[in-house]
């Protein structure tokens, strides 16, 4: 992640994959609320999927994030409506800090996808059948490289190339390195003040 106002471009992400199967995987599963009791995101990665990974006595359960063969994975492959629920950026922060550089899935909840973009993590979509095939492939070939090409909107693995989809604004933001919007939007401060002044509900004083 870059803190230098978005000069870093994210044209592609590649690495081994980890499949997390199931529709409607919500943010409470990705990062349970009790791990939100932190004032920085440091160290949050270890709690990714915590409650589906560990039982009450902290014994590991059956979950891909607990499997050695997926430990170094950086491409997360999920199903439909992934990341639904709360707006907590802790969810993509936890995944990113666990080691995920891109998420490929059938569909994503919007706030989650927006939060991923703010961290420079692409959320790439493909059909249900293509996703399932990719998950099966990753399961059988945990050491195989997966290449997510954001600019070309493709996901390549083995001999297969999926014609994937990246939201237009997201693709542009990542490929051109303007996904960190703070500095960009701050440079328009004058135009912002003009817009504010044109709104009837803004009282004239003190909005310069």
């Amino acid at each position: 992640m870059s803190d230098d106002n978005g000069v870093e471009t994210v044209e592609r992400a590649s690495g081994t994959g980890v499949p997390v199967r199931g529709n409607d995987i919500d943010t409470d599963q990705i990062i349970p609320a009790r791990f939100l009791k932190v004032v920085t995101f440091d160290g949050i990665g270890q709690f990714a999927f915590h409650d589906v990974r560990f039982d009450d006595d902290d014994n590991p359960k059956d979950h891909p994030f607990n499997e050695d063969r997926f430990r170094d994975a950086s491409i997360l492959v999920v199903n439909a409506n992934f990341g639904c629920g709360s707006s907590r950026e802790h969810a993509p922060q936890a995944l990113k800090r666990w080691g995920i550089d891109a998420v490929v899935g059938e569909s994503f909840a919007e706030i989650f996808a927006g939060n991923c973009l703010a961290l420079g993590v692409p959320t790439v979509t493909a059909s249900a059948e293509e996703i399932e095939a990719l998950q099966d492939f990753v399961d059988e070939n945990p050491d195989a490289e997966i290449d997510v090409d954001v600019a070309d909107e493709t996901v390549t693995y083995g001999d297969t190339k999926i014609d994937a989809n990246v939201d237009d604004a997201q693709r542009k933001a990542l490929v051109e390195g303007v996904w960190d919007t703070t500095a960009l939007m701050k440079s328009n401060a004058e135009a912002v003040a003009e817009t504010a002044a044109s709104l009837p509900y803004i009282e004239s004083e003190g909005d310069a």
Binding site: Q29, A33, V39, S87, E89, F108, G114, K186, Y201
Partner: protein, 474 residues
């Protein structure tokens, strides 16, 4: 593309410029801040040596982790740390703060409307997905993540892509004990938890228009559970009557009159064009309860729990897992499902009419021996108003715990949590596994009256079947 809708008009009025990404830069009229998702954003701002650009358009409160029992400082554990960070951040930036000491504290989506901060034709953001609530006033309101909070703090704006607009018309008159909550649960059940992705929902039709503001808030609140980041209702006389009495306008009728003409100008045109339209017959609905672990898994109280194989293929696995977790059987109804906890609270259903309606069911009865029941008013003002009407007495006498304002057991960040595999009848908005603080916990979502009935009977109950008591008959 939609044309002439409230969404189009409010979007256009707030657009600063088109960004190189193709997104629009939108001015933010109101930025609401709470203790859990803001400290990291203030930290990012400091790292970049930036200041809050529009502190006067920003308002803070504590709700997510704040204790709802013992409120003496320091708070227990992380609550104190988050509270003191917020206190310091708002003091430094000069941001108004509805602090518990002011009597104005409460859930961010309750206090904004209550104080008149929330107004039609505004853009409103907050680091909380239920920000969609404010759409009840004809505002364009949506939840944002922490990096976006940083953007809004630093620039007073947000980068967004325009979405499609789906009008959902709910026709007819709602039946007995059928509330706004049931309407939105039904909408989510029909359109799916991801049906709203890419859309903003405009709720319309006589069943919506006849709702009070609190009911409209319950509907817009759960837009996000249907996948829609924002939902709104065109402002009308009901909206204006609410606003007229708020802090913002009570002493300033001139300002009210001035802004009213703006509010009227941003409503959707009669010939507005929508990207999609759905019609639901509101008169057919009955109270809705969830049987599963997503808000889309709901049924009418007298309907049978579906067999997974009868559902669309992509919903079958989720349904099987949900039924296993909830320990329910297809073919049964939810009536008689044993309840351990009754939670009346949350940004969905913890306003005065919610409390009044539930109190009417509770009056003259007792909470079932096996149930722990609690009422968590949405704000300190709601709490005070309820006490002035004697509702607290009704709840206390029946055996409910009467607590302070906050998010509480909706998300289990403070001391109010499910334990073990407890089942709760909850007026909140999410029944996700683990949501209410316990991995094995089970949540059944329903309207406040139904929560009251479940608390009394110790099981999910059709509130319409409860015999009237002397008090309830009045």
């Amino acid at each position: 593309m939609s044309r002439g809708t409230l969404y189009d008009k409010v979007w256009d009025r707030h657009t600063v410029t088109r960004l190189p990404t193709g997104q629009d830069q939108l001015f933010v009229g109101l930025h609401l801040v709470h203790e859990v998702t803001s400290p990291q954003a203030f930290g990012m701002l400091r790292e970049r040596d930036m200041e809050v650009a529009y502190p006067e358009r920003t308002h803070a409160t504590v709700d997510h982790i704040v204790p709802t029992g013992d409120r003496s400082r320091p708070f227990e554990g992380a609550a104190e740390e988050m509270m003191s960070h917020l206190e310091e951040n708002v003091r430094e930036a000069g941001i108004d703060f509805s602090h518990p000491d002011t009597g104005d504290q409460g859930i961010v989506h309750v206090i904004g409307p209550e104080q008149g901060l929330t107004q039609p034709g505004m853009t409103i953001v907050c680091g909380d997905s239920h920000t969609s609530t404010h759409g009840a006033f004809g505002a364009l309101a949506f939840g944002i993540g922490t990096s976006q909070i940083r953007d809004v703090l630093a620039t007073g704006t947000i980068a967004m892509e325009k979405q499609k607009v789906r009008r959902i018309r709910v026709t007819g008159e709602l039946g007995e004990a059928v509330e706004a909550k049931d309407v939105i649960l039904e909408i989510i059940r029909r359109l799916g938890t991801d049906g709203g992705v890419g859309y903003v929902y405009e709720y319309a039709g006589e069943a919506i228009e006849s709702l009070d503001m609190e009911g409209r808030m319950s509907i817009c609140n759960m837009s996000i559970e249907g996948g829609a980041r924002a939902g709104y209702i065109n402002p009308d006389e009901t909206t204006y009557e609410w606003l007229e009495d708020t802090d913002a306008f009570a002493d300033d009728p001139e300002r009210f009159a001035e802004l009213k003409s703006y509010w009227e100008s941003i409503t959707s045109d009669d010939d507005a064009e929508y990207d999609d339209e759905v019609v639901i017959d509101g008169s057919e609905l009955e109270p809705v309860v969830t049987w599963g672990t997503t808000p889309g898994q709901g049924i009418g109280i007298s309907e049978e729990i579906p067999h997974p194989e009868d559902l669309p293929e992509d919903k079958q696995d989720t349904a099987r897992h949900a039924q296993e977790h909830m320990r329910v059987e297809p073919g049964d109804t939810m009536k008689g499902y044993p309840i351990d906890v009754a939670f009346l609270g949350s940004c969905t259903n913890a306003r005065m009419p919610d409390l009044r309606n539930a109190a009417r069911v509770v009056a003259g009865r007792e909470v079932h021996d096996d149930v722990r029941a609690m009422v968590v008013p949405g704000s300190q003002r709601v709490k005070a108003a309820a006490e002035a009407e004697g509702l607290d007495e009704i709840f206390r006498e029946a055996g409910f715990d009467w607590r302070d304002a906050g998010c509480s057991m909706c998300l289990g960040m403070n001391e109010d949590q499910l334990e073990g595999d407890e089942a709760s009848a909850s007026s909140s908005n999410r029944n996700f596994v683990g949501r209410q603080g316990s991995k094995e916990g089970r949540t059944v979502l329903m309207n406040p009256k139904m929560v009251a009935a479940a608390a009394i009977e110790g099981e999910v109950t059709d509130v319409r079947d409860l015999p009237e008591t002397e008090v309830s008959a009045q």
